[in-house]
Amino acid sequence: MAKMDLLQGTLDVLILKTLSWGPLHGYAVVRWISQQTEDALRIEEGALYPALHRMEERGWIEAEWGVSENNRRAKFYRLTDLGRRQLNAESESWQRYAQAVGRVLQTA
């Protein structure tokens, strides 16, 4: 399977989904997303950080400094209530979108 370019805004919902399992630092989020999508989505790893910071500003996630598994100082992100609501709304509309596109492609 060829790698797909990431649709605009889709990164946000992927990050939210990733963080819904628990607090993670930025690097872990990248790793998690690559593993889950089996590297099908081509993300420039750095692109993740502006997205994280923007979501922090919006109050969807919040950050705290902690210690990583290898004893390094790392910034951990966690989902807020607002972020959880955002995730539900986004994934619902994403699924509706995917279904609609799928239906069109099947009838074609």
């Binding site: 930025g26 790893e45 750095g46 950080y49 390094r72 910034k75």
Partner: protein
């Protein structure tokens, strides 16, 4: 949550937003490199690969930093606001627990701010705003000054000034005139002006519709054109632009409407509602004797008033030589247009402003005192909070927030009061105040008053805040928050404030008292006639409809006859000018057998009346007889004089049968016989110092009635005179349907209108005086109540040691009254200085009237005594055991 995160971060690092971003990216790259190596990537290439996978490090770093900085800034603001909100909520809670304090403080501030803003807004609209004309400072009046009095100018003099003063770019003349407007709708009496062609150019205004007058139209025979005011155009003609070039009937003659002026030209409700050309007849160019023109001019650009004054002075000198008979005593003076417009209003409004400033100051002093007292009373509470760890800054900020909340609430209420007050003022103000209609709440004034209230409450909040927040906890807690020892510096501050408050109130009340006395004096002025039960109505008979005076007089007499027949009318008559209407005409008199020395003249007010006038008005005829129907044209000429004239013309003698003349050549007077002496009547204004000398003529016989004739019908009625107004209107219509009936009013209303300005002054200052008195009483009460609460312990001790209730009462009251007495003394001095400004507004009372001062002192002292007695009595009932209990 926020604080948890903040403290956590603080412990882990002291970094900035920028540092955070760098650390985060560095962590990513390092961890990635390590993972790559673990996955078997050649170690020396791993870091490079990690960087490649990351992408544009610099771009990411910059974006993240920007977001971070923005986020931090937002967070700081949120924190500030949330703390402010906490403080405000706390302040509200504190104020709710002391509702009396809060309400008094808010009410006090609201009164001060509201009154000041309303009056200043009025002053701003009427006095301070520039005139709506272009370069208004160049518009001036040109007066002929006759022995110190500003007078109108004669046509001959006007032309001399017009051609001889280079400083004037333009000079125009006008004369007030009234017009009967007939045609569609009821006939109407319209006040307007005859103006020379350049009049509007002097003002610098263009008509909103159509055009102004041309020079050609400003000539006899060509002058049947009219320019309407915006108000008349809208009210009478429905604002229809098609009115242009149509003819309307003025005084019976068709006039073509050529223009409509914009609304801003009308400065007051008594301004002209239409303009027609002045159209001076050519022979008037050398008429130097008949001064009736009001002259305004526009100075040329760059021309100074001083230069113009010098030039008109030279012309005046030349006029003395040109026509010594009329001009020997005449000088000339120019006066800025606005000065004349505002003469009489400027000072009155400034006095009002001074009065409200007093009220605002009293209000501020009051709030300061209240807050000081509250701060002192809360010493213990604050000490406890400080002991529990509240920081000094935090405590001060909380106290200041409380002041802020108070002053904001007071300001909001004050703005509302100002709005109401301004509407009330406009509603009750006497007519004719220029530009009153444009008065709206002035933003600057409101802001200033708000600022003052804010500063007052913040300052007075700050003093106790700083003091009580001082970490001198132990003594405060030990003393139980009660400080023993009056006479501390803060007490002196409070006493000083009290002194100021009392003094300011006294100044206000003294002014109000003098105006009340003036209004009472006006009420009791001997009118010389009985106004109750009399209905009056104005008639105007234009020359165009009544070319012969005889026919006009006959019409007036027919109207009188019709009115007399109305059921309920006991008697009716007509008079050329109604008493107390403010108008007057006078003639120079010759007295037979008593020639005046040269340079001295006797003038008498002239009134033409129909038979029965004296009876109808209940003017006593002291000697002789009333006019009868037999005193008609052609019959021997007769007059009735008033007592004032009789005394002046025939001192010590009997006027009856003597002769006087008001017409005729100097060497051949047209003598008329005095057949009666009538009681003195206030002919002009209620405020006239004394009754003017005057004489009455039978309307039939007068030689002074010429041109457009106006008269007032007076009817004495059995019941309510106002109820007969429609019947009087019908009576006039029966005689001539073209005649407008205007100013139908009872004589009581005419009298009230004559006293309206004085009553307005009195009402305003009295209202402010009462507000000041109330505020001062509240202030005194507040201070004394605090004083008592602070000294409960001491008082209890004294009583335990044998002091009687009476002694305690006396002691506390004396403590309170000491600053009050000082304030009264200071106030008397201030009032003596301030009431001199009232000079021109007083009637029948001097500015230093001892009775008024004594009365005001008594009122204020009584209020202060009451305000201090209430808490003092509470103090005298202190139970020693309770007061001394720990």
């Amino acid at each position: 949550m926020a604080s948890w995160r903040r403290s956590f971060r603080l412990h882990l690092r002291g970094g900035t937003v920028e540092q955070d971003v760098d650390d985060e990216i560095a962590f990513h790259i390092e961890t990635r490199t390590r993972d790559l190596i673990e996955e078997g990537f050649p170690p020396h290439l791993a870091r490079e690969e990690a960087l490649r996978l990351f992408g544009q490090v610099e771009g990411v770093r910059r974006t993240c930093r920007e977001i971070g900085v923005r986020r931090e800034r937002g967070r700081r603001w949120t924190e500030v606001f949330s703390e402010l909100r906490q403080d405000a909520v706390f302040a509200f809670r504190q104020l709710r627990e002391a509702p009396a304090f809060a309400l008094i403080a808010i009410f006090t501030l609201a009164l001060g701010i509201g009154a000041t803003t309303a009056i200043f807004s009025l002053l701003n609209a009427v006095v301070l705003q520039p005139l709506p004309f272009p370069e208004p400072e160049r518009i001036v009046y040109l007066w002929s000054v006759d022995r110190g009095q500003d007078r109108s100018t004669s046509p001959g003099n006007f032309f001399e000034f017009k051609n001889g003063v280079p400083s004037f770019e333009r000079l125009a003349a006008s004369v007030k005139a009234s017009f009967n407007l007939t045609g569609d709708g009821a006939p109407e009496r319209i006040d307007g002006s005859r103006v020379s062609a350049e009049y509007f150019e002097v003002l610098g205004v263009q008509p909103a519709l159509g055009r102004g007058f041309t020079a050609a139209e400003d000539a006899p025979g060509r002058e049947r054109v009219v320019v309407l005011s915006d108000g008349l155009w809208r009210e009478r003609f429905g604002g229809d632009p098609k009115i242009l070039n149509q003819a309307i009937r003025l005084n019976g003659l068709p006039h073509t409407v050529i223009g409509v002026m914009p609304a801003f030209v009308t400065l007051s409700s008594s301004d002209s509602r239409l303009w027609v050309p002045l159209a001076l007849p050519p022979e008037d160019a050398t008429n130097y004797g008949n001064s009736y023109l009001r002259v305004i001019g526009r100075l040329g650009p760059g021309a100074s008033r001083t230069a113009a004054q010098a030039e008109v002075g030279r012309i005046a000198k030349r006029l003395k030589e040109l026509d010594p008979r009329s001009n020997v005593d005449k000088e000339a003076r120019i006066e800025p247009f606005l000065d004349r417009l505002l003469s009489g209003y400027r000072r009155r409004l400034l006095i009002l402003l001074g009065a409200v400033a007093c009220v605002l100051l009293i209000a501020c002093v009051n709030v300061a005192n209240l807050l000081l007292a509250r701060g002192a009373a809360r010493g213990r509470e604050i000490a406890i909070r400080a002991a529990l760890g509240a920081g000094r800054r935090r405590i001060v900020r909380q106290l200041l927030t409380e002041s802020l909340v108070l002053s904001l609430a007071g300001s909001a209420a004050g703005a509302g009061l100002a709005w109401l007050g301004l509407r009330g003022l406009v509603a009750i103000s006497p007519g004719g105040v220029p530009r009153l209609g444009q008065a709206g709440i002035d933003g600057t004034a409101l802001a200033c008053a708000l600022g003052l209230g804010l500063v007052a409450s913040l300052l007075s909040g700050l003093v106790p805040a700083l003091r009580t927040a001082r970490p001198d906890l132990q003594s405060t807690l030990k003393e139980g928050g009660r400080s023993i020892g009056a006479g501390s510096p803060r007490d002196r501050v409070r006493s000083g404030l009290l002194v100021a408050e009392v003094a300011l109130s006294l100044v206000l009340l003294a002014g109000a008292g003098l105006l009340i006395r003036s209004a009472l004096a006006l009420q009791n002025v001997e009118l010389g006639f009985e106004p109750a039960g009399v209905l009056t109505a104005q008639l105007s008979l234009p020359e165009a409809d009544y070319p012969e005076t005889e026919r006009a007089v006959a019409a007036v007499q027919r109207v009188v006859g019709e009115v007399a027949r109305i059921p309920g009318v006991e008697s009716a008559a007509a008079v050329s000018i109604l008493p107390l209407s403010g108008s007057d005409t006078s003639s120079r008199l010759d007295i037979e057998g008593n020639p005046l020395p040269p340079g001295q003249e006797l003038h008498g007010s002239t009134r033409e009346v129909t038979p029965g006038y004296f009876h109808t008005m209940r003017i006593p005829l002291l000697r002789g007889r009333d006019f009868t129907a037999a005193d008609r044209k052609g019959a021997p000429k007769v007059a009735v004089v008033n007592q004032a004239l009789a005394r002046l013309a025939w001192p010590g003698g009997d006027a009856l049968g003597k002769r006087l003349a008001y017409t005729g050549e100097d060497d051949k007077p047209d003598w008329i016989e005095v057949v009666g002496v009538a009681g003195d009547v206030r002919l002009g204004h209620l405020e006239d110092e004394e009754v003017r000398p005057g004489f009455y003529l039978p309307m039939d016989q007068s030689d002074l009635l010429r041109g457009d004739i106006s008269a007032a019908v007076v009817a004495r009625t059995a019941g309510d005179p106002a109820a007969l107004a429609p019947a009087v209107r019908r009576a006039v219509t029966t005689v001539d349907p073209r005649l407008p009936v205007f100013e139908v009013a009872t004589m009581e209303e005419v009298r009230a209108a004559s006293a309206a300005t004085a009553r307005f002054n009195m009402l305003m200052l009295t209202a402010l005086g009462v507000i000041g008195l109330l505020l001062a009483a509240v202030g005194i009460y507040g201070v004394i109540a605090w004083f008592v609460s602070q000294r409960t312990q001491e008082i209890g001790l004294r009583m335990a040691l044998g002091a009687t209730q009476g002694r305690v009462l006396a002691m506390v009251t004396w403590q309170a009254m000491r600053p009050v007495l000082v304030g009264l003394a200071v106030g008397v001095l201030g009032a003596l200085a301030a009431t001199r400004l009232l000079g021109g507004l007083l009637f029948g009372v001097t500015a230093t009237d001892p009775l008024t001062f004594a009365g005001v002192l008594a009122v204020l002292a009584a209020a202060a005594l009451l305000a201090s007695w209430v808490p003092a009595r509470r103090a005298s009932r202190v139970e020693p055991s309770r007061a001394l209990a720990p």
